[in-house]
Point group: D2
Chain length 487, copies 4
C-alpha cells in the first residue's frame, strides 16, 4: 500500500487490536469508536486523506524509488535544497491542518526513521545485519505507510535496583533478558508513548545524550515491533476529551493524542527488527551522525510555526471581539506573539538557507537556528497561553455550552453574550476555543507537553551549546581586539 | 439559627430551588445530589460543621451581640488587635481545611458584608433607610448564618447601546427599569457569580473604582436578594469535576466552585433590601471608607498563605519521591516557593502589627502590606504551577487511574510506578494531586481565577499606588539629600 | 572628494570649529586633540581609512553615478538583492571594526539620507524645490563623503507654554520664527545629537510617529546645516573616557560617542537646505513611504549582530579563564547569548530573503524580521550585560590598572591574578573589557542607549504592530477552523 | 576611647599609614586628602559624629559593660526584643544617613564581630585561648570603636596548584606557612576587602558554607590584625569618584567605598589575634551557631530598606518633574518599587516579631524572613535601576555639569532644561543623581555589588533552603490531605 488514505489508516488500526487498558479495563471494540479515540483518529484519517486528495497529493507524496508509486513525502531523504523546500511545504500543509496540536503528526516519526535510515551504515559497524535491518524496515514503513510511535523514557523506578531475599537483584530497568534464535526477549516499561495505540508500530530506542558514553551498556537496544505483539500492554492516561461537540470542545474533540505507558512482559522481538544491541557508543553516534535531531527539528519548527500562527489568530480575534485591539496593554501583548512568530519563521528560513550536504547525501538544514527554536518555543508557548488568559479574563471561564444556546435561556444569552461585531454564538465559540487551548485539561496537557517536547530545558540547551562550533571564532575576535595571540 | 452546621447548610440550599440551568436544562432535583455540586457542597458542609465541632467552635464563633448565641466569627467587627488575631485564626482554620482552593469560603463574603455594615452611616447620607437596611440585613445574615455570593461584573455587551428602528435605545447594561411602592425592578446580567447557586443569597453592587466619579449614574444600585427570587436565572459553566473518585480527582471532586452567569429578568427587589440607588459617589465612598478591600484583603491573604503552604508541600513531596531534593535546579525552584510563602506570611504579620482604629471603631489592618500581597500573588501563583510542571514533567501526564490499580495490570503498575520511599499508589495519588492543581481543567480555572481574584493587574496596582500616602515622604528624603527645599 | 580617508575626516572636523561647550567652557583647540574626543575620532578615522584600504575598498565603495569615482557604499540605493548583500557586507565590515559600539557609525546616517533621497518626490508634492533640495543634498553628501548627525527629540520643557506678563506666550518648542528671502530662522533646542560635533553637518527633522497626524503643524520642518553655522551651540555631556590607556579603558578610550544638546539661537537655514516646512503629513509620509526605518533597520540589525558576537566572545572567554565552561549554570547563561545571536542572524537572513522592490526602485528588505529585531535587542542587551556581571562577579570590580603591572606589586599580581590558561595581564585585560562593556560609566551609557536606540519600547512595538498586515490572515485561519464566515 | 567622633576616626586612619597602592604607586600623604578617599572618609566621619551628637547619641550608643562610658550600640548583643528594636533604630539612623549606599557602614562589621563574640565558647572547644582571644578582641574593638573590614574570598588562582621543577608544589592559596612562638606566618591574597584601607583593622576568616565539611583543612584560619602590619599590602581598584562636585557626582563624591586586593607576604599574626587554626568544623559551627548571618542579616535588611526608600524617592521625584506620575506605564513601574519596599519592610517586622532567645542569650530574629530578603533584594535591585533608566531615558545621559550652569550658555540651559514645577538646576541635580545611582561607573559597581553582597544567588538560596525546618510540616499537610500516613 503506497501513501494510504484515512479509511486505510482506520481499518488497519481497528484490525490490529493491541492490548489497550483504559480505566482498569481492556478495550474490546473498535478503537475508532471509543470516546477517547474517535476524535483523534478521525483527525488522523483526515491527514492521511490529504495524501490522496487531488489538491494536495502532488505536494504530499513522491514517487517510490522502489515501485514508482506515490509514497509519503515525509519519508523522503532530502538531497537538494528543493527537496528541503518540498518537505517544508508538506509539513506546513499537515501542520496547518492540525494547527500544530498534534505532536505525533505522521511526518514526525517518518522523518526520524528517515534520518536513521540514511545513516544505517553506522549500525553495521558492529553487526552488518543491523544496518540491513534498518534499511529494510525503513523501506517497509515507507512502502506501507506505517504509522509509528516511539518510546525511550523509562519510569523513575527504573533507576532502582532492589536486593531480593534470595540474593538476586531485581531491577525495574528495561532490558534484554534473553537472546535466542528467534530474537531477543525484552522486559520493562516505557513512559509516554504518545499515540502509542493509534499507530501501527512502535520504535524503541535509547535516550539521546549530548555526550559520548565511555562504555557500552548491556541495557542498550533499539528495535521496532507491531503494537499488538504478545506481551505488550498499553496503559492509557485519563482521556482529556471533553465530549463530542466541536462547539464545546473544539480541540479536545479532535486532537487529544492519548499518551500511554507501555509494558513489555517477556516480549519476543525478532532479529530482523533489532537495530542496536548492547552498544551505547553506536547508539549515540547514530543520533549525532544521522542528523536525527536536525531532520526532526526541521519538522518540529514547522509545527511550532503552525501553532504560533493559530495562537496569534485566536488572540487577535479575541482582541477584536472585545474591542481592545487599540489598547496599549493589548498591543504590547499581541506584539509579543508577533515577535515570537516572526522569530520562528526567520529561524526556519535561516536553517534552510544554511543547509549543507552531509556525508550520507542528505541536504541537512543548519542546526543552529533549528536548535535555537527548540530552546525558545518551550519558554514562550506557556507565556502565549498566559496572554490568552490575561486578555480573556473571566470570559474564558464563564462559558455556556452548545446546549444552552438551544435551551430556554437562549434569547438572553444571545443578547448578553455578543461581542463587538460578532454574535453570541460566534463569540462563545471563539472563547471556548481560547479556553480549550489555554485552560482546559486538554490545554494544560498541551502546555506541559510543549515544555518537554524535544527534551527538557537542559537537554535542548546542551544540544545547542555542545554542538556550537562557532565558539572559538567569537573568542578569537575578542583576543584580536585585545591584541592577544589566538592559538 | 445561629452558626449553622453542614446539614443545615445543605437543607436550606436544597429547599430553596433557584432556577439553575446546566447544559441547556434546568436542574430539578436536590442540588447536593447533582454531580457538578455534590463534592463542593459536601466540602462546604464540612466547613460549617467546624463551627459546631467542640475542637473548633470556640475559635470559629462568638457570642451574638443580640442573642448571646454563638454566631460565625467572620461576621465579627474587629475592634481590638485581639479581635484581628481571632479573626485571623478563624480564617486560617477554614483556609487550612480547603487549602485556599475555595475563593468563596464563607468568611470572604461575611467579611465584606461586615465591612459595609460598619460604615452603613454613609449610605444614610442620601436616604436614612438605606443605612438602616444595611444594618438590618447584616444582622439578619449574622443571626441566620446566611451564605452569600456576590456579583458586580457585567458582560462585555453591557457597554453596547443599540439604536432600535423605533428610535428607542436598547441597552444590555443592568439597570433599574422601574421603581414602585414595593421596590425596584431590575433587569440585566452579571458575570461570574462564583458559588451563586450553592449559597442562600446574592449581594449585587457596583464595581469599586480607585477614583471618585464626578457624577452619579442612574444605573448605580446595590441590593441583596434570595437566590430563588422570581425572575432570577442562573446559567452554569462547564462542570470541571472529573469524577467522584478522590484518588483520581483529589481537588475537582471536592472544590469545584461553580461559576454562574446570573440573569435578572424583571426582578422585584423589595425596598428593605436596597442599599444604594443612583449614587455613584456614595457607592465609592462606601468601598473606600468602610475599608472593604482592607478587611477582605486580610481574609484573602490568609487564604493565599494556606494555598501557598499546600503548594509548597506538594512540591517538596514530589521532589522527595523523585529523589531530587538535593539537585541545585530543584533547590532553586523550591526556594522560590519558600521565598513567596515567607513574603506572604510577613505581609500578614506586618498588616496586623500596623493596624489602627478607623472612625467606625474597626481595628483596621495596615492596607499597604495587604494590597502588596494582592499585587504579588496573582503573578507568582501561575509560576508556582509552572514549577510543579517543570518538576513533574511527563509524570504529571502519564497517570493511571484508581481503577487501573485494581485491574489486571496492577502488579506491573505497582512495580514500575513506585517512587523513592513511596509505593506506586502513594506516588500516583501525589502526582494526580499535582496534576489536578496545575494542569487539569480544574487547575486551569484556578490559575486563571487567581490572576483576577481581587481585580486585574491594573486594578490591584492602582489600589496600592493611589492610596500610598508615603510618596511625599520619600520624595522629601531625596530633596533633602539634594539640598532642595521641600514644600 | 570621493570616499574620504581618516586624515581627511579629521582635517575637515578640525577646520570647522563649531561652538562646542564642555564643562562650562568653549573648546578652543583641535577637537581631535581633546581628551574627550581624540579616542573616538581616531576610531572614526580608522573606519574611513577602510574605504581607501586595498583590502576593503572594493567592498566599501561603489562608482559614483555622477563621476565614476569610488564613493561610500552606504550611500548606495539597493536596487537588487545583490545590492542588499553588498550593503550588508559593507555594514558588517564596519560593524566588526567597532564591534557595534558606535551607534553613529557613518553607514547609519548615510543610509537614512539615502532613504529620504529615494522618496524625495514626496517632498515635492507641496513644493517642488524641496524635492530638488533633498536630491541635491544627498548628492552633495555622497560626493563629499559628508559625516552627519541628526536630531529630532526636544527637551521635556518644549511642551510647556508660558504666558508672559505682556500677554505674549513664551514657548520652548523649536520653531521657525521668521522666513525671509535667504531662508528660515530657527530657534529651539534638541536633545541628544550623538556625535553632533564629530561630524560635518546635522540633519534636523520631526519625530516619526506611527500614526498619520490629522493636521499640519507650523512647527514642523526638516533641514540640514553645517555644524559651525552661526547661532548653533553644542553643549556636551560628561565625558565617559576613563583615560587614554587601551589596557585600562579598552572601550571608552576608543568608542565614547559624545552626546550633545544642540541649541539653535536665531539660526538662518538657507532655503536650499530646507526639505519640509509646515507639513506634518508629508513628513510622516516621507518616513513611511521611503522605508526609512526599513533601510536603517537593516543597518541597525548588522550592528546588533556585531555587538552580540563581541559580547558572546567576551563571555565565552571569561568562562574559559574561570574554568567554568562546563558548569550547567554557565552553559545556561551562555546559551542564552547564543540563542539571541542566532535569532538576530536569522532575522537578518529572513529580511533579505523576503526583500521586494518598492515604487522608488529600492529593493526593500522584509520589514517584519527587521522590526522584530528592534523589539528584541533592547530587551536582551541589558540581560547580556547582566550575564557578564553574574559570571564575573567581584572579578569585574577588583581590577588593577596597567600601571600596577609595572609597579612594585607586579610579581604578586602576576601570581595571584592569573586565570586558567592565561596569564595575569591577559586575564586582567579581558576583565577590564568586561567591566567597560557592562559596568563602567561607558558601559552604563551603552546599555541605556540601546534601550532607546530606535525608539522606546512602545515606539518599536507600535512600529511592528501597526504595519503588520498579516493580522487578517491569522484571524481568517481561526474563523475557518470554527466554521465562521470570514468577510 | 569610647564611641568615637569623625575627627577621631580620621586621625587614626591618617596616622596608621598602611601600605596602599593606587595606580602603581604607593600613597604617601594623608589618606583623607586623597581624591579617591576624601569624600568617602568625610561621609564616614559624619556617621561617627552622630554617635556624639546630642540629637542621636542616646540612640546610637549604650553604656559599656566595662566602663559605663557610651560605646557604639552596634556592638551590643541583643538580649531582649527591646534590644533588637534599639539596634534596628540605630541601624536605620545610619542607613538613612548614607541611604544604604555604604555596604561597610560601621554597624555591619561590628554586628558580625558581636555575633562571633557571643558564641566564642565554640572556639574554645579546640583551644581555650582562642575563645579568650575572641572575647578580648571584641572588647578591644568595642571600647576603642575600632573600624573593621573583612576578607574571605581568594582569587581564582588560589585553586591552582603548580608542580615546580624541583618537585615541590607551588600554590596560590592563602595559608599558614609557619607557626612560631610569637604567632603564625600567613601568606596569600584576598579579593575585595571593601573599605580595607579606610578602616583600622581587618578580620580574616574562612568562607561560610552551608554544609558541614567532613574533614579539617590546614588552610583554615581566622584572625584579626591592624591594617598597617608589616607584609600587608593593599592594591586599590579604579577610583569611581567622578570629582568633588556634589552637584555633578552626588553619590560618587561621597560614597565610593574603595575595594582592595589585600596581599599577605610573610605576615606575622600574633597568637592573641588568632581565633581559628586548622579547624573547618569549628569554623562552620561558629558561623551556624553564632547566628552570624542572622545578626548581620538584620543589619543588611535595614540597609536594603534605606536604599529602597531612597530609590523610590528618586523615581517618584523623576516622575513628578516629567509630569508622568499619572501614566499607567509609570504607575506600573513605580508600584513595582512600592511592592518591593513594602515587602522588605514586612520581612523586617516579621523577623523581629518571630525573634527567640538562642543558647548564648541572644534575642535572635527569625532567620526565615531575613534570608528571604537576601534572596529577593539582589534580584530586584538591578530591576529598580532599570526602571530609573526606562523612566529617565536619554535625560539620564544628556546632562550638563555644574560649570555649564555658571558658564555662557546658562540662560539657554535654564530655559530648555526646566521640568514640571522645578527649575533647570533642580531638575539637572535630580537627573544627575539618577544617573549616578543607575548608570555611572559608581552606579554600575553598586549594582554589581548588590548582586553578590551576602553571597551569590546559589549561596543565599541554599542558606534559606537548607535551614528551612518547616519542610516536613508542609509535606505532612499534603500527606494528611491524601490520607497517607506521615511518619
Amino acid at each position: 500500500m503506497p501513501a494510504k488514505n484515512g479509511k486505510q489508516f482506520l481499518d488497519r488500526i481497528n484490525r490490529a487490536k493491541p492490548s489497550v487498558w483504559f480505566r482498569g479495563e481492556q478495550i474490546d471494540g473498535r478503537l475508532s469508536d471509543h470516546s477517547a479515540f474517535r476524535g483523534l483518529m478521525s483527525t488522523q484519517a483526515e491527514l492521511y486523506d490529504m495524501q490522496n486528495h487531488p489538491d494536495f497529493q502532488e505536494r504530499m507524496t513522491y514517487a517510490s524509488p522502489t515501485t514508482g508509486d506515490p509514497v509519503g513525502l515525509s519519508f523522503m531523504q532530502p538531497k537538494t535544497r528543493e527537496d528541503l523546500e518540498k518537505r517544508r511545504q508538506m509539513m506546513m500543509l499537515w501542520g496547518e491542518k492540525h494547527h500544530g496540536l498534534l505532536g505525533r503528526s505522521p511526518d514526525y516519526m517518518n522523518t526520524g526513521l528517515m534520518a536513521f535510515y540514511t545513516a544505517a551504515e553506522i549500525l553495521g559497524e558492529k553487526e552488518p545485519k543491523f544496518a540491513e535491518n534498518m534499511r529494510r524496515y525503513y523501506e517497509f514503513c515507507r512502502e506501507n505507510d506505517i504509522s509509528l510511535s516511539h518510546a525511550f523514557v523509562q519510569p523513575h523506578a527504573s533507576r532502582f535496583d532492589e536486593l531480593l531475599e534470595d540474593g538476586s537483584i531485581e531491577t525495574c530497568a528495561a532490558r534484554v533478558i534473553e537472546e535466542n534464535e528467534e530474537g531477543i526477549i525484552v522486559e520493562g516499561a516505557f513512559l509516554l508513548a504518545t499515540q502509542g495505540v493509534t499507530t501501527d508500530e512502535i520504535l524503541v530506542y535509547p535516550p539521546a545524550y549530548s555526550y559520548m558514553p565511555e562504555e557500552d551498556s548491556p541495557r542498550t537496544f533499539a528495535f521496532a515491533v507491531p503494537n499488538n505483539l504478545p506481551g505488550i500492554r498499553w496503559i492509557c492516561r485519563e482521556s482529556l476529551v471533553g465530549g463530542d461537540s466541536a462547539f464545546d470542545y473544539p480541540l479536545s474533540s479532535r486532537f487529544d493524542e492519548m499518551d500511554t505507558l507501555v509494558l513489555f512482559d517477556h516480549v519476543l522481538v525478532p532479529w530482523d527488527r533489532v537495530f542496536i544491541l548492547g552498544s551505547d557508543h553506536l547508539s549515540m553516534r547514530l543520533f549525532a551522525e544521522s542528523g536525527f535531531h536536525v531532520h526532526c527539528g526541521h519538522q518540529v519548527l514547522c509545527r511550532y510555526i503552525a501553532k504560533m500562527e493559530f495562537t496569534l489568530g485566536v488572540i487577535l480575534y479575541m482582541a477584536e471581539t472585545l474591542d481592545r485591539a487599540t489598547y496599549p496593554a493589548t498591543i504590547e501583548k499581541i506584539s509579543e506573539v508577533i515577535v515570537h512568530l516572526e522569530t520562528l519563521k526567520s529561524l526556519l528560513i535561516a536553517s534552510e538557507a544554511g543547509a549543507v550536504l552531509d556525508r550520507f547525501g542528505s541536504m541537512l538544514p543548519d542546526r543552529r537556528p533549528l536548535w535555537t527554536a527548540n530552546v525558545i518555543f518551550p519558554k514562550v508557548y506557556p507565556r502565549m497561553m498566559e496572554i490568552i488568559q490575561l486578555l480573556g479574563g473571566s470570559g474564558i471561564i464563564m462559558l455556556p455550552s452548545e446546549l444552552d444556546f438551544s435551551g430556554d435561556p437562549k434569547a438572553d444569552l444571545n443578547k448578553y453574550l455578543r461581542g463587538s461585531d460578532v454574535d453570541a454564538t460566534q463569540k462563545t465559540a471563539l472563547f471556548r476555543l481560547a479556553w480549550d487551548l489555554s485552560t482546559s485539561g486538554f490545554g494544560g496537557r498541551q502546555t506541559l507537553y510543549e515544555r518537554f517536547f524535544f527534551g527538557d530545558s537542559s537537554v535542548v540547551t546542551n544540544r545547542l551549546y555542545q554542538s556550537y562550533t562557532d565558539k572559538k571564532t567569537y573568542i578569537g575576535k575578542v583576543k584580536t581586539f585585545l591584541g592577544q595571540k589566538d592559538e
